[in-house]
Symmetry: D2
Subunit: 378 residues, 4 copies
Amino acid sequence: MHFLQIPGPTNVPGRVLRAMSRPTIDHRGPEFAELTLDLLPRLRAVFQTRHDVVVYASSGTGAWEAALVNTLSPGDRVLAFETGHFATLWCQMAARLGLEVDFVPGDWRHGVDPDLVAEHLTDQTAAVMVVHNETSTGVRSRIPEIRAALDRAGHPALLLVDTISSLGSMDYRHDEWGVDVTVGCSQKGLMLPPGLGFNAISPKALAHPGRMLRSYWDWRPVLAANRTGYFPHTPATNLLYGLAEALTMMEEEGLDQVFARHDRHAEATRRAVRAWGLEVLCADPREYSSALTAVMTPPGFDADEVRRVILERYDMSLGAGLGRLSGQIFRIGHLGHFNDLMLAGTLGGVEMGLRAAGLPIKEGGVQHALAYLAETGS
Amino acid sequence: MHFLQIPGPTNVPGRVLRAMSRPTIDHRGPEFAELTLDLLPRLRAVFQTRHDVVVYASSGTGAWEAALVNTLSPGDRVLAFETGHFATLWCQMAARLGLEVDFVPGDWRHGVDPDLVAEHLTDQTAAVMVVHNETSTGVRSRIPEIRAALDRAGHPALLLVDTISSLGSMDYRHDEWGVDVTVGCSQKGLMLPPGLGFNAISPKALAHPGRMLRSYWDWRPVLAANRTGYFPHTPATNLLYGLAEALTMMEEEGLDQVFARHDRHAEATRRAVRAWGLEVLCADPREYSSALTAVMTPPGFDADEVRRVILERYDMSLGAGLGRLSGQIFRIGHLGHFNDLMLAGTLGGVEMGLRAAGLPIKEGGVQHALAYLAETGS
Amino acid sequence: MHFLQIPGPTNVPGRVLRAMSRPTIDHRGPEFAELTLDLLPRLRAVFQTRHDVVVYASSGTGAWEAALVNTLSPGDRVLAFETGHFATLWCQMAARLGLEVDFVPGDWRHGVDPDLVAEHLTDQTAAVMVVHNETSTGVRSRIPEIRAALDRAGHPALLLVDTISSLGSMDYRHDEWGVDVTVGCSQKGLMLPPGLGFNAISPKALAHPGRMLRSYWDWRPVLAANRTGYFPHTPATNLLYGLAEALTMMEEEGLDQVFARHDRHAEATRRAVRAWGLEVLCADPREYSSALTAVMTPPGFDADEVRRVILERYDMSLGAGLGRLSGQIFRIGHLGHFNDLMLAGTLGGVEMGLRAAGLPIKEGGVQHALAYLAETGS
Amino acid sequence: MHFLQIPGPTNVPGRVLRAMSRPTIDHRGPEFAELTLDLLPRLRAVFQTRHDVVVYASSGTGAWEAALVNTLSPGDRVLAFETGHFATLWCQMAARLGLEVDFVPGDWRHGVDPDLVAEHLTDQTAAVMVVHNETSTGVRSRIPEIRAALDRAGHPALLLVDTISSLGSMDYRHDEWGVDVTVGCSQKGLMLPPGLGFNAISPKALAHPGRMLRSYWDWRPVLAANRTGYFPHTPATNLLYGLAEALTMMEEEGLDQVFARHDRHAEATRRAVRAWGLEVLCADPREYSSALTAVMTPPGFDADEVRRVILERYDMSLGAGLGRLSGQIFRIGHLGHFNDLMLAGTLGGVEMGLRAAGLPIKEGGVQHALAYLAETGS
């Protein structure tokens, strides 16, 4: 059995794969409408919103684009923060789409500093773009504090948040935290293969559409069709089957339990990392990700070589360092469909792989993780 | 067993569903690159092109948008023809994206008249948009003759063709017919669930990118990443598994045999329709679709009621009349994964359903179809 | 899509195949006990019994053996009737197991004559063996009348009935009809792959165990273990998953509707056969099978050649003539998971195949079947 | 993900489950014959025999019965050894089938002592029954030495060997070791769900059939039908699909590598057990099983409580102590589809569970196992 411990796509549960292997149905027939009308409210619960969630046949990148083109107008200024690779890519997208980006530099080891948000807001700022959980670094930005900073400033900018690798694994509250557009996708915490992108939308964002040109990504025809259970374009039916099953699994476990499980696995992972004598990339404990842990390899040791050895010897995929972190870190995904024994196997593979790759680690990381898991299990 | 005889999504073969239920893999790992590098050349064969085919996580609508935003510039004029509902929708998309559309009216019973193409070309025409097989009407446009008209006019306009419901069911030759962008998708002739969109791209189209803003749909980063077997955004991995299997099935049968099978089933269907005393919507035998047959119900008989009765009594889904044909036709899909006995079942269901819905048809349509199938089978 | 129209194994529904692809569980754990304790009462309903049903990992042949070795003693006499190939095989088994068989000859076109039962009972008759639905001929024996004959004779012989191809497709009442052991299996009306054998057991049969040596087939340890949800030997877990799903499907449709559906399809099939100018093997309308129809080919026409042509040209499997009927009949299975359009496809394939094989049939059989289906559908 | 670490059924690979979910085919058609004729020679390779292997729709218990009833005659004496629960059950079966059993007592911690074999052979001994790998104890009997003992004695008794939990996980050589009948099944090393039983048969065993009554289990009709690719009774088609896929997986890895992998995992497991301060049940290192490890709980600690805690907290199933070992041991299955990281997870779960159940173990078992795995991996 392959261990797919990249920070997404994640291990798809057999239940979900089986659900997805049902025959495709007529997307304009009554059975389909029942599926949609059952699915959408349950999907909202994962975003912790009472408002609309739009589902696209797309990757998460597509959902990024949808968030921008539905809310902004040509030439609008957006404020963004260099928390890592994906925050950078999202900004590049904004620029390519003709937006002006104020990009606040960062060290890729911290989340967005709420104080800096206030500092960089200008009269022209139409939206603030934040990545909730930076998949490239394992650093979480504190959305409620960012919201508070905007509120204190009394600034009307929209708050756009990427939850691609946090949604369904880490506590996230679209409504309570006052987010305007939340961007998500299928292949991480939602335990599905890639192919679905999501936008959760605040009433404010819906009420003030931007003037950017759009067609495929336009929320309005989707929302209109969704009211009766349909989609304006052919939806990715079999992924929706899988989504319904994944939601059932999350409901069975309970969303709070899902989050607690991920918090616990992340802490166990960090304990292993420290016991090995290695450093977690995330520099601020308030900003630890519960979805993945990025581990720094010591100078002189190529993290990609570690990953190669682990893939070859132990049939486990880990995430690479991206962009400026290339070769300097590897990322352990512990999100989505995951349990204590899968984590034990994962950390066992990392520990053996680090040794096999010749890193001067201390043994016993797995043991520290197990001790923590044993103490905190229920 | 449900008979899914809408003109797409089509009946997904069990082989494809099983292939799709394999675990998702790391889209940045070596196994994935092998998958891509194997898949893309085989996909090109279905378009009958030696050039690039770009694969999106999207519906076919997304691939429409990609064709436009990669080739055109803001305010460009495009020439299009009202062959039916989807041609109309594509034009609406073009207009929403800021293009000027010259939309030549049509009666929804004919394909694009090649003479009209020549007639409507202007110096400003940047592209001609044609739907090869109008899914809403079962009418085929004659691409080679349209190409010839452009050539005769010596006009440099790009030729953009929608093959959403013809690709993989009807003969289509991207290179030989001089098409610049061919738009396709997964859930019709390719026998997959929905979720993949395609653009086949001519060297000319690639060499002259438009200036429309784009990011998700931009061909360039996709083509660059594809060279080494990867994608710039997370691809819809499990649908790609299915695509590889579907291509294998088509290769086993032989593309010519696939087309001949569909031609034969379409002719058998039309014979049944005529034997029932009903009329095929497509008015010109040169333009018959081999993927679907739209059947007109006599005045006073609601085609949607026929469909409702057939779904309820015989567990078969047929396509509705769309747009201005609403209630006046039903569409029988005989594309994708289909064989003689499935057609016999389909036509049996239509005949029984027409009777049950009270239409004054003549019996014996199935018998005429069987006679034709028996004569022409091998 | 292949049409598997042999009289079993039958077309396994996708729902059942997906249920069977769940991971195997610990057959001694609590989850397994829940499965068994849920399953067995629901299985009894298909036999229309309130008493025990034993499930074996075996073919139906194994369940035949179980019926004999649990109830009889070495050298016992059994009375049986030559209704066809499988009745003959069951007698051969009895003989091989050391029983004395009184085998009443038959013409393979009639079921068991209840009057002959009375006539052939002797003081030594320990059991009467009857095949409810002879799979080799499509002839049904009238169990209630046979029971009545035994009752009239006041004879204590056990009544052992093979329902291999009738169970779950044709009305069968273990309790009401006073049957002592009913033999069944998975791959026919129960819509599963082969691999499970069943014995439904009357209190009388259970109370009077025979003295034949037995171990694997012994009911007693199975019944004892089943009380708590377990099996003495490792059960065929994944087939049990499929069985649970198949029972759910039957419960959703309703057992009476299942039987009515098969009666209707059988009548439609016979009408097609007669319209072709061919003869149904079953000679007595009271004994028509609702599970399959055996069709006689005219002298000089090899039925196996017809089958070969149909398999090759139309991808449909039909049943061969067995034993003394070899080459003289083909058998159309219309049992298990089947609906009107699958029957239309099936009969379409037979009609085309008969023509292709050169048989001088009249056309229009399918049309007659459709007319009957249309009149009687709901 | 559930960890199914009982000593069978084992974790069925997704590849095998997907192969099994193919539609059932006509077991009398040409496609089926191809399947059988491809499968049987490949199956022989797992037994390391050039001779016949018979496949039953049955559990392994059925294959035990087949081994006896095909080779022995009523009242024959068989020599057997009390190596554990399953050796005892096999003897009970022999007795129930009317054989005389010389049952040599044992302590359930040792395999068959080859010297005792010689000692207990009598002129009447028709067969010697040995369990190669006692699933209830994790003790292996040394078949080559037992064979040598028989040879030294010049005794003609048949050698019948149960390889139910060793086949496909531990080196086993039907031909080289001079075994007459080898009994196997599907749900252990062959990585399938339960439902298939096997007999590998020596020419000697085949040439001297016994006189016990038999029908379902009779080798002769099976072998005769197998010659052309068929079975006398309906075979468990979908399990055969799975078998073909499982054989492909074993061929890809190489049988020697499969055995080496299991040897290595067993040694790692024993190192963990010792590091915890617990005792392996198997008393003789020459007899360690590579398929499972039975672990003794200290006096006063109920092994079933340990298992209950592990199932509840860590979603892992372990094997119970059977028969006289009830509550005194638990069994860790490390056979079939298994790799280093699954073992790390398994041992992690055992270690945490032992702690959670209050056993006074030393920590660090997992760490010792990992160290061994790291040293010996390749």
